[in-house]
Homo-oligomer: 450 residues x 2
C-alpha cells in the first residue's frame, strides 16, 4: 500500500522531541521511512545548531546530500558552518552540480578554496564554472549533468549509454543531441526512446525544433519560457551554441515562488530580505531605507498641511476629514499599482493592453471615487450641516482617487520602460504621494470656500 | 539548428498586423513555425472577437486545441462563445480531459448540455466526472488520462502498451500500477522502464512507496507537495483508493502563480479579480468592499481627530505631524504583515517559528521606531523649538511602530488559526488601524503636555 503524501504535524512534533532528547535508537528506527524533504522540515524547525548537527551526522552520506538540498538557506548555512571540511566535501560529491554550487555560494571565500581543493577534480571544475555565473541567470540555476549523445549514434546505443550511467541521470527527461563540436542539434524525450526502433539513427528520432536558452538569460525569463511552453527541462548553451547544462522544472518552481515573494516584499517597501532568514537586525536594515524615504515624504505632506494652518484653526474638523481623503486615495492607488505590477510580472500587460489597463483603472477610480466621495460628502453634511465642506470633501476624494489610479499605473509602467523593476513603485511611494495630493487639494479647496 | 526560445516582440507585431489585414496567405506561410503558445499570445493580444475568430478558424483541429488551452480565460471564453457547437466539440475531442473541463466549466449551462450531447461518450463521461469536483481541488485540476498497468504484467508488456497508445500519452512521466480492482499499488518512472529487463515482473520494478493525493485535497496543498518532493506528476485516488487521474507539474506551475497572485491582490484589498479579465465595472466591484470598509475606518480615525479639535486649534502644527505618525506606523505595519502572510503561504512559519517571528518583528519595530522617531523629533525640535512637541512626536511614532508590528503579525496569525486566509488581513486594515492609534496617541499625549 502506498504511503500518504502528507506527514502529519504530529509526526513532526514526535521527531522534534526525539532530536531534543538525543534519542538515537528511536530516530534510527524511523529514518528509513522518512523522505529527505521531511528530514529537511525537521532540520528547519529545530532552532539549535547542536540538535541539527546531531541529526545530520546520523544520516548516510547520500541521504545527507538529498536532505541538505531541501533545507532553507538559514538552516543549510548553519549546518555547513559547523560541519568538518571532510564531511562537507563528502556531501558535495553526492549533490548535483547546481545544488553543490548553491551550497558553496554561501561559504566564506577562504573556506571555499579549502573545500574545492579537497573535492574531486570534476566536481571542482563544474562548481567553479557554475559559481562564475550570476546566481539569477540561466547559468546560475542550471546543472552540468546532462545526458548527451552525438547525432550519428543509434537509438540502441543511446539507450545503452543511459543504462550505463543510470545513477547520474536520476531525473533525466530528455537526451540532448550534439555534433562533434558539442554544439546542440536537438533533443529526444525519453518517451520517444521507448517508441523508436533500436536500429534507428538518433538524428531521425530527435526534435530539432525545440527550446533552449543562452547562459546569460535572466531566471525570470527562463521561468516564463517554462510556463509558456510547459517544459520539463531546457538545455543551456554558451555563446558558441555548445551545450553546457540544463535547467529542470523543479528549480523553476522555486524560481516562480521566489520571484513572487520578491515582488510582494518590494511592493511593501522591503528590500533584500529572505523570509525566514536573518534576525531583527537584518529585518531592520531591509526596511529602514523605505521607511526613511517615508519619513521624508510624510514630512513633505506635513509641510503641505502646515501651509494651511490658518484654515485648520478656522475649521478644526478639516484635520480629521483630510485624513479620509488621503487614506482612500492611497489605498485605491495601491490597488491599481498592485494590479499593474503583478500583471507586468506575469507578462499579461503588453502592447495595447497598456491602454486598456489605463482606461480601465481610470474608469474604475472615477466610479468608486464618485460613489465613495458622494457617500462621504453626504455623511459630512449631516454631521456638520455645511454644504461647502461636504462638496470639498467629495470633490477632493474623487480627485485623489484619480491621482491614485494615475500614479498606481503610470509609475510601474514608466519604471518598466526604463528597465527598472516595476515592483519598486512600492506602496510607500503611492501612499505618501496621495497623502500630499489629498491634503493639498482638500485644504486648498477648503481655504477657498471658507 | 534549434530555434530560439523567445519570439521577439517584432514577430508578435507582424502577426497582429497580418490578422488585422486578414492576410490569409501571409498567415499560412508562418503557421507551421508557430508554437501554439505563440498563437495563444497573438489571440490574447487581439482585442476584437472577429480577428480572433478569423485566426482561430484557420488552425487545424489539433493546433486549435493546443492553442486554446494556452490562452487566458478572457480570450478563451470570447472565442468559445462565438464558435459553432460543432467546432467546439471538435476542439474538445483533441484536448486532455482537464483542459476540456476547464474550457466547459465557463460555458453557460444550457450550451454545456448541448455540447456534451455532441461529444463522444468517453469524453462526455470524463468531463462530467471532472466538472463535479471543486475547481480548486485535486479532482478539479487532475486529468483522467493515465498510463496504468496491472501489477502482474511484465516490463515488455507495459512497454508494448505504451507504444500502442503513444498518442494519448504525450506527456506521460510514470506508469501507474494497479490491482484488479483498479486500486493504486505503485508507480514506475519511464526511466525505470528503459533500465529494466523486458521479462521482469512490473511489480518488482515499481516504487511502492510514493506520493499520492485524494480527490478532495486543496490545490494549494497539492502544489506544496509537488514543491516539497520535487514531483513531476502525482496520482489521484478516490475514497476507495482507486486510481482516478493524475496531476502534472505544468498545471501546478499555474497553480503556484495563481495562488501568489490571489494573495498579492487580497493584501491590497482586491477581491475576486483575475488579472486581465473583466472591465472597469468588474474592477470597481472587486475593490469597493475594502474601500467601503476603508471609508468607515477612516471616518473612525477622523472622529478620533475631532475629539482633539481644541488641541489642534491651539497647535495647528499637530494636524501635519500626526499624519507622519500615522503614515510610518502604517507602512511598517504593512511590512510586518507582508512578511507574515507570505511566510504562512510558503509554509515557512510554523511551530516555534511563530514566536521567533513575533520577537523579530517587535524588535525590528522598536529599533526602527527609535531611530526614525528620534530623527523626526529632532527635526521637529529645530523646526518649532518645542521640546514637548518633539518628545510627543518621537514617543508616539515608537508606539505606532509597535502597534503596526503587533497587528501586522498577530492578525494574520490569528486568522490562520481560525482557518481564515491570512491574506485578508489586508493593507487597508493595517493602515487604518495604525491611523487611529497614531492619531489618538499623538493628539492625546499632546493635549496632556500643552
Amino acid at each position: 500500500v502506498s504511503s500518504s503524501a502528507i506527514p502529519t504535524s504530529t509526526d513532526r512534533y514526535t521527531l522534534l522531541a526525539i532530536v531534543e532528547q538525543r534519542d538515537e535508537s528511536s530516530l534510527r528506527a524511523r529514518l528509513d521511512d522518512l523522505h529527505p524533504a521531511d528530514l529537511a522540515d525537521v532540520l528547519e524547525s529545530l532552532d539549535d545548531s547542536e540538535g541539527r548537527l546531531w541529526l545530520f551526522r546520523l544520516l548516510l552520506p547520500e541521504v545527507a546530500s538529498e536532505t541538505i538540498r531541501e533545507v532553507n538557506e538559514e538552516a543549510r548555512n548553519d549546518i555547513v558552518s559547523h560541519l568538518s571540511d571532510a564531511r562537507v566535501t563528502a556531501v558535495i560529491e553526492h549533490l548535483d552540480t547546481d545544488d553543490a554550487a548553491d551550497l558553496l555560494g554561501d561559504v566564506p571565500e577562504e573556506r571555499l578554496a579549502v573545500l574545492l581543493d579537497r573535492a574531486s577534480p570534476e566536481v571542482r571544475r563544474d562548481v567553479e564554472d557554475l559559481l562564475a555565473y550570476p546566481a539569477d541567470s540561466a547559468g546560475g540555476i542550471m546543472k552540468t549533468e546532462v545526458a548527451a549523445a552525438v547525432q550519428d549514434a543509434t537509438v540502441a546505443e543511446v539507450i545503452d549509454y543511459i543504462r550505463r550511467r543510470a545513477d547520474e541521470f536520476h531525473d533525466v527527461h530528455n537526451v540532448f543531441i550534439v555534433d562533434d563540436q558539442n554544439r546542440l542539434q536537438g533533443l529526444v524525450p525519453l518517451r520517444m526512446l521507448l517508441l523508436a526502433e533500436d536500429k534507428d539513427q538518433i538524428q531521425k528520432v530527435m526534435e530539432a525544433d525545440h527550446h533552449w536558452v543562452s547562459v546569460d538569460v535572466d531566471q525570470e525569463e527562463v521561468a516564463r519560457i517554462f510556463k509558456k511552453y510547459d517544459l520539463l527541462s531546457l538545455p543551456v548553451v554558451d555563446a558558441l551554441g555548445c551545450l553546457v547544462g540544463r535547467i529542470t522544472i523543479d528549480d523553476i518552481v522555486d524560481v516562480i515562488s521566489e520571484e513572487a515573494t520578491e515582488d510582494i516584499l518590494k511592493m511593501a517597501g522591503i528590500g533584500d530580505e529572505s523570509l525566514g532568514k536573518g534576525g531583527a537586525l537584518a529585518a531592520m536594515r531591509s526596511r529602514i531605507p523605505w521607511l526613511g524615504l517615508n519619513l521624508i515624504t510624510s514630512a513633505a505632506s506635513a509641510t503641505v498641511v502646515s501651509l494651511f494652518e490658518e484654515t485648520i484653526r478656522t475649521a478644526a474638523v478639516a484635520a480629521g476629514l483630510m485624513t479620509i481623503v488621503a487614506s482612500l486615495g492611497g489605498n485605491s492607488g495601491v490597488q491599481a499599482m498592485t494590479v499593474t505590477v503583478r500583471g507586468l510580472a506575469l507578462g499579461e500587460i503588453r502592447g495595447r493592453g497598456v491602454w486598456k489597463l489605463l482606461v480601465r483603472e481610470i474608469t474604475a477610480a472615477c466610479g468608486n471615487g464618485l460613489i465613495l466621495g458622494t457617500t462621504a460628502g453626504t455623511f459630512a453634511y449631516f454631521w456638520k450641516g455645511d454644504v461647502a465642506l461636504a462638496c470639498v470633501l467629495a470633490v477632493s476624494m474623487l480627485a485623489n482617487f484619480l491621482t491614485g489610479a494615475l500614479l498606481g499605473t503610470l509609475v510601474p509602467l514608466g519604471l518598466r520602460s526604463l528597465k527598472v523593476d516595476p515592483a519598486v513603485a512600492s506602496g510607500v511611494f503611492i501612499q505618501t504621494s496621495t497623502d500630499i495630493v489629498g491634503f493639498w487639494v482638500f485644504l486648498g479647496l477648503l481655504s477657498m470656500v471658507l
